[in-house]
């Protein structure tokens, strides 16, 4: 195994929306390397469909304050209101920026950026759904990813494609500790690359692959949070994991909320529009946590559809066929391909699918990673996008706010990193910093164990889906924890078939499994400790929100022995007082 050394001012890990947006801020200003385990255009930002909200008022009256209110309420009052204000204000600039970058938005007859309705986004503090989501048909994420990548090509950004980061480097101890680079594995050669840099920004996306049914790519394995957690950086609010209501039954592929924004209706096996019962005002456009729970309840109470009564329908059959063709072409294709059904005439079988991590690497509004309840900044370390927790999504993210998050906080993180690296010296590291990564790889290559990566991962996904998904209890979480501990023991004996150095995905999947196990454990511990129901975290044994005891963020810390402890920090309050969440 050859070892290579590189020196940069800034390293960005991940080249989805957040990483690319950050790179556009650093390119041409400081020497930057963007490291991605894929090609940038393979990133999962490209799978986002419905839109990106901003109060442009292009089609009806709207204000960023209304957007902020909806986001706070959607977060079940766990979102930090200072960060939410910033995101909703800067949303407007972020959309304009994308338009200037060339994003082909769908347009109104006058030629303005068109806007449509989306779950939880309302006019005047909850009166009725509002048209706030800017979109490009039902492939808004694809267009954002392509557009940002195009701009990175124009800016001559320096990409290291198919390099996977397995360690983060620091210089100094205690309060003098600062980020100093990363260690990456080159897929094409099996070589290790040490990137020594003054700033490191993580933008590695989510970790939906801890669950069996997910809208997430195979590659969403929590690499960034996993690496940082191992180096003592805490993870925030990991128990809050969003299940999108409308995943294709049995597969989990996403069918955008925009389908309901266009007028689609959810029906149970009896044909009832059950969301009228749950959310009388906004009905099918209630926030995702509520809709996912409503679907879960319909199925549990025997009103599901199908031979096993284990799904419900997304019904588009009453929509004009030309509207489906124009506004929802991609998802129609998914339904035809994977279910063999025609969305214009057949109701579509759906079930909630693991979709988005509200929690992640704790940051402040500048994308700087903060490492304790006092929000102490670790100099030089940044995070943005789904892997980060600012927290703008709190306990439940509103639809479209993820595309917004990556643009607003990708830009902020990139800018903050430029400013920081221009004022500090280059780190000085010993050559031995590569050793831990090399030892991990050698151990896997030489393992004589008999456990298979796929088997352990599969069992983890089944347990997490059954015991720690839409609805949880203390009992189910203890069962999940038990499974995770057993799998962790078996992971010590995992072995791989491929001993080669060229495109050895057998090896990288084994390393990714380590992160999946860590993240699943943190999620379950946080969920078990949180004895209330808030947003996406629903406890059947504690079915109400408990603001007196639990309006606080969870921080999970790992010490060097591997023991995990939980700590808490206050939520940043603002102008919106907590109230009961009704729609």
């Amino acid at each position: 195994m050859n070892i290579h050394y590189h020196s940069y001012d800034a390293v960005i890990v991940g080249a989805g929306g957040a990483g690319l947006r950050a790179a556009l801020e650093t390119a041409g200003k400081v020497r930057t390397a963007v490291i991605t385990k894929l090609y940038p255009t393979r990133s999962h930002t490209g799978a986002a469909q419905g839109g990106m909200c901003a109060a442009l008022s292009n089609v009806e009256e709207d204000y960023w304050e209304w957007h902020a209110f909806d986001t706070v309420k959607g977060s079940d009052y766990l979102g930090d209101q200072d960060a939410i204000d910033i995101m909703c204000q800067e949303a407007i600039d972020a959309v304009i920026d994308l338009e200037h970058f060339g994003l082909p938005f769908s347009r109104t007859p006058e030629g303005k950026i068109d806007q449509r309705r989306f779950g939880g986004h309302t006019r005047n503090h909850g009166e009725a759904p509002v048209r706030r989501a800017c979109y490009a048909a039902d492939r808004t994420g694809h267009m954002i990813l392509q557009t940002l990548y195009q701009q990175c090509v124009a800016a001559d950004v320096n990409f290291f494609n198919e390099f996977q980061v397995f360690d983060v480097l620091f210089e100094g101890e205690g309060s003098a500790r600062r980020a100093a680079g990363v260690v990456a594995y080159e897929l094409a050669t099996g070589d290790l690359h040490v990137f020594v840099s003054k700033g490191v920004l993580f933008a590695t996306g989510g970790y939906g692959r801890i669950f069996q049914i997910t809208s997430n790519a195979h590659t969403l394995t929590g690499d960034g949070p996993g690496v940082l957690f191992h180096r003592g950086i805490p993870l925030e609010d990991m128990e809050f994991y969003q299940f999108h209501p409308t995943g294709i039954y049995g597969i989990g592929i996403l069918l955008t909320e925009g389908a309901r924004g266009e007028g689609g209706i959810l029906r149970n096996g009896l044909g009832e529009r059950f969301m009228e019962r749950v959310a009388p005002t906004v009905k099918d456009l209630a926030p995702r946590d509520m809709v996912a729970r409503a679907i879960h309840a319909e199925i549990k109470e025997g009103r599901g559809a199908g031979p096993d009564k284990d799904y419900v329908y997304l019904d588009l059959t009453h929509l004009p066929p030309e509207q489906i063709d124009a506004k929802l072409p991609d998802i129609s294709g998914f339904v035809r391909t994977y279910l063999g059904l025609e969305p214009k005439t057949d109701p579509i079988p759906i079930q909630p699918t693991a979709h988005y991590a509200m929690g992640g690497i704790p940051t402040n509004v500048h994308g700087e990673v903060v490492i304790d309840a006092d929000n102490t900044v670790l100099p030089g370390l940044y995070a943005a996008g789904e892997c980060a927790c600012v927290s703008v999504h709190g306990a439940n993210r509103l639809g479209t706010n993820s595309l917004l998050d990556i643009n607003v906080f990708g830009r902020r993180g990139g800018r903050a990193m430029v400013e920081y690296v221009q004022g500090v010296d280059h780190p000085d590291l010993p050559r031995s910093v590569v050793d831990p990564t090399r030892e991990r790889i050698d151990a896997l290559m030489n393992s004589t164990g008999h456990e298979k990566v796929g088997a352990i991962r599969g069992e983890l996904q089944v347990a997490m889906m059954r015991d720690a998904s839409v609805v949880r209890t203390g009992e189910s979480l203890q069962a999940a924890l038990q499974v995770i501990h057993e799998l962790r023991d078996r992971y010590q004996k995992v072995a791989i078939d491929d001993k080669g150095s060229v495109f050895n995905y057998d090896l990288t999947e084994a390393l990714e499994l380590g992160s999946l196990l860590d993240i699943a454990e943190v999620l379950v511990l946080g969920a078990d400790a949180r004895k209330e129901s808030r947003g996406a975290h629903w406890r059947d044994d504690f079915p109400t929100r408990d603001d007196a005891n639990w309006m606080k963020h969870t921080l999970a810390h790992r010490d060097e022995s591997g023991a995990i402890t939980l700590d808490y920090k206050p939520v940043v309050q603002g102008r919106y007082e907590p109230m009961e969440r009704k729609y």
């Binding site: 347009r107 592929i253 029906r267």
Partner: protein, 249 residues
């Protein structure tokens, strides 16, 4: 509560267990002098995709098999491969539609690195050569530029491209001539040439008027057949040819 009678069409009723026979072209540069075929037998569901079949081979029979994959539903462009002689994405082709006897090879026209993994660098270099980004020199200020729905529709088809390479690697000219930029690069040039906000159409047309450009195309339509996004690739190439000949001021 509003209730409607739902006409049930059960997707699950059509799913059955099937025996699948895979013949995969393997190549490990650290061991093999030339590619060779390996056969695998699996029991799968008819609703499984070809990608699912490959994942099953890797997970249960032979962990050394290498192939790229990410989103698994046809939007990331990672898993273009040759399935029974035609370029397809593994993740959007179900066993029920492509059959149970499958011959899987890497795409042609790009160097094979290992198994189904090919070197994408030449492909992305071609993409970069056509200035694949909006070039608009007028200061738009702090507001959005307007674009009519008609102008927006003019280039809609080519915005769908996911850079999977299925088109370029299905093109006989691309196989034979390494200098040809290939259909994917032309598609991505088209996306900007016909965008009313862009001001560099003429530069792109100059690039595509060179020997490596559109005139290499022999209109075999392989690219259009291969495109998993349904882009009318050959038509886009023809529109660029026409723009070079007639529309330039």
């Amino acid at each position: 509560m509003t209730t409607t009678t739902v006409e049930h069409t059960e997707p699950t009723a059509l799913i059955k267990e099937v025996d699948v026979h895979l013949t995969i072209k393997r190549f490990n540069p650290e061991v093999d002098v030339r590619p060779h075929w390996r056969e695998y037998d699996l029991r799968l569901k008819s609703s499984d995709t070809v990608l699912n079949a490959l994942i099953a081979v890797k997970g249960t029979i032979d962990g050394t098999l290498s192939f790229r994959r990410s989103c698994a539903h046809g939007v990331c462009g990672s898993d273009a491969m040759m399935i029974n002689g035609a370029n397809r994405l593994g993740c959007v082709n179900l066993i029920s539609s492509v059959g149970t006897d499958l011959v899987i090879e890497p795409v042609r026209g790009l160097p094979v690195i290992k198994d189904l993994v090919v070197d994408m660098e030449p492909f992305f270099a071609q993409y970069r050569s056509v200035l694949p980004y909006l070039i608009a020199n007028d200061d738009p200020g702090y507001k959005e530029r307007y674009q009519s729905p008609e102008d927006r529709a003019r280039f809609d088809d080519t915005t769908k491209c996911i850079l999977c390479g299925a088109c370029s690697t299905s093109c006989p000219v691309y196989w034979a001539n390494g200098a040809y930029v290939g259909p994917a690069a032309i598609v991505n040039a088209h996306r900007f040439i016909f965008d009313s906000r862009d001001q560099a159409a003429s530069e792109r047309l100059d690039i595509l008027n060179q020997k490596s450009g559109v005139w290499r195309c022999r209109t075999s339509f392989n690219c259009t057949e291969a495109c998993p996004r349904g882009i009318k690739v050959t038509q886009a190439i023809e529109e660029v040819k026409r723009a070079i000949l007639y529309d330039r001021s």
